[in-house]
């Protein structure tokens, strides 16, 4: 079916890249001027001058006979990325600097210096798994790059990770490449979505992950380099680059190390988070998720707080925020240990807290928005469309339908399971809410099973 694809000038490279990735490099595209399209798109009248300019171009794209290359483009060839590179310098530092220059100019690095991934260092990394270097962990979006154990190990070396961290990194990559994790969205969206990487179980303490004060900050090699290894692996194996096919408009917070931290299972009043996800007590796991910019609650060291007050603030935040995809959200609520203990003292379990949040965040039908920011129509229209197209799961759809009437209370998430409760942080501490606008589209918990036996026995 003949067609034409409209994009804007800022996204033309991205669109061409995607067309090539999907095997249709010759799709006819027209790029509207970004500097006038986005400011004028609020009305048809404002866009009319642009439509006037592009109308004839559209007709031409729809009717002009194909060139030979458009009709039968050359088959894309496999590009091999397996040859080692030799770099010579006056001394080690000079050679290392040249490696860094080369890698960054090739878009193989993140802008900070990397450790040169020599075969010896990569082999030492690979020695921490029983898997073969050529084993395929999965395909990395958006370009569908093949994540072998060896490629992940190369990136882990570059990040400065210790070899004993490698099983965590491998398990995380299993999560990122799971077909239910929307890695294309997380890697390429214009929104500043950033992966959340949660390490749980005995391995967290054994490897020295920080789960206390400063858990998202610098200073802990495990947090920093596991996160960075994943950053580099996603960048290099999925082949993304800002302004080309990573279109996060303001970049990503925690761009270099992601939100990488561990749960403080010792101070938690509840079972470890991974047990709530169906794993056995004592299992070590890594959860890979995604979030927009997190929101902080509580008083920390400067203001009084109560646990119920924190939860009330969380409820208000979730009910009032105008997220672009309402009613299909996922939240990770990270409670600092004192807050979690206080809640437990008031008889909250993790499950009852999930159910409380689910109930309290429901929105009265009368308060549904008159329009949504993504797409068209009212919020009710959007919910009904979400049911029709499967974004709201069929097994939860009836709850929404039953409440789309006067007096109804419409859930903002699909089930209590969409509130993930984790305990981490300092004493005093703040509480964090990570939110992602897509239930189960970017949340996977994976057992760290490919490790050689460690002290923890896992």
């Amino acid at each position: 079916m003949p067609g034409v694809y409209f994009t804007t000038t800022e996204f033309l490279d991205d669109a061409k890249s995607a067309a090539k990735d999907r095997g249709m490099p010759e799709i006819r595209m027209l790029a509207l001027p970004a500097n006038t399209y986005y400011v004028g798109r609020a009305s048809k009248q404002q866009l009319q001058p642009i439509a006037d300019v592009f109308f004839d171009k559209m007709i031409d794209a729809l009717t002009r006979p194909l060139t030979a290359e458009e009709a039968k483009p050359s088959q894309a060839q496999q590009l091999h990325e397996d040859a080692n590179i030799k770099v010579t310098g006056r001394d080690f530092l000079d050679a290392s600097e040249k490696v860094n220059d080369l890698f960054l100019s090739n878009h193989w690095a993140d802008g900070l210096p990397v450790v040169p991934p020599t075969p010896e260092l990569v082999k030492a990394m690979e020695a921490e798994t029983k898997r073969s270097p050529k084993d395929v962990i999965g395909q990395v979006a958006p370009k569908n790059g093949t994540a072998t154990v060896e490629k992940i190990a190369i990136n882990a070396v570059m990040a400065g990770a210790k070899p004993e961290y490698f099983p965590v990194i491998l398990a995380a990559m299993e999560g990122f490449t799971n077909k239910h994790y929307d890695l294309t969205h997380v890697q390429a969206s214009t929104g500043s979505f950033t992966p959340v990487v949660l390490v749980d179980g005995p391995i967290a303490q054994e490897l020295g992950f920080n789960s206390g004060i400063g858990m998202l900050g610098h200073g802990w090699r495990a947090n920093s380099t596991v996160g960075r290894a994943l950053r580099l692996a996603l960048l290099n194996i999925g082949q993304t680059w800002p302004q080309v096919n990573d279109m996060a408009l303001t970049g990503r917070l925690e761009a270099y190390t992601f939100y990488t931290f561990a749960e403080d299972t010792a101070k938690s009043p509840w079972e470890p988070y991974n047990v709530s996800q169906g794993f056995q007590a004592g299992d070590s796991t890594v959860t890979v998720s995604s979030s927009g910019n997190p929101v902080i609650f509580g008083g920390g060291a400067v203001a009084p707080w109560t646990a119920q007050g924190v939860i009330d603030q969380v409820v208000t935040q979730i009910r009032n925020r105008g997220v672009v995809w309402p009613h299909a959200q996922k939240h990770i609520l990270v409670l600092h240990p004192d807050c979690a203990v206080e809640l437990a003292n008031h008889s909250y379990t993790r499950r009852s807290l999930q159910e409380y949040l689910y109930e309290q965040t429901r929105v009265p039908y009368e308060k549904l928005a008159s329009h949504v920011s993504f797409g068209q129509g009212t919020e009710e229209d959007f919910i009904r469309a979400s049911i029709a197209d499967g974004r709201i799961r069929p097994d939860r759809a009836q709850i929404f339908l039953d409440n789309l009437k006067p007096g109804g209370r419409v859930p903002v998430v699909q089930s209590p399971d969409d509130f993930h409760i984790v305990v981490a942080g300092g004493s005093p501490g703040y509480d964090l809410l990570f939110t992602y606008p897509g239930t189960n589209w970017a949340h996977q918990t994976v057992k760290i099973a490919s490790a050689t036996p460690m002290k923890s026995g896992k």
Binding site: R22, M24, P65, D82, G89, T184, N236
Partner: protein
Amino acid sequence: MKGNTHWLLSATLVVGGLFFAATCSAQVTLEVMNPRGEIPPPKTLGISPRGGSLDGKKIVLIDNGKFGASNFLDALADMVKQKYPTATIVMYPKPAAQTITDLPKWYPTVKQQGDLFVFGVGD
């Protein structure tokens, strides 16, 4: 005097040689591995043949759901109706939960409804 000259020349050569050797031996070559993933090339396809006029054709305007896309497509629709009165416009809002990579799910519906399509506005 001649002996002294020979000694000085010899010493210079020895020192120079040692310096050259030291310089050479200090060079370091690092062999590093390529961190990039290999991409299995997709089967490359051509685009659909086209030709002729829009007269009498059904044109599906696919709204990708991004804010403002419908305004732009509406403006185009008005111009098509004015300039090609025998053409038919079909507005098709792409299912919001599905991306362009989910084509097999929604493209058949588009194909059923028209002869040509216009997709916009992508970002």
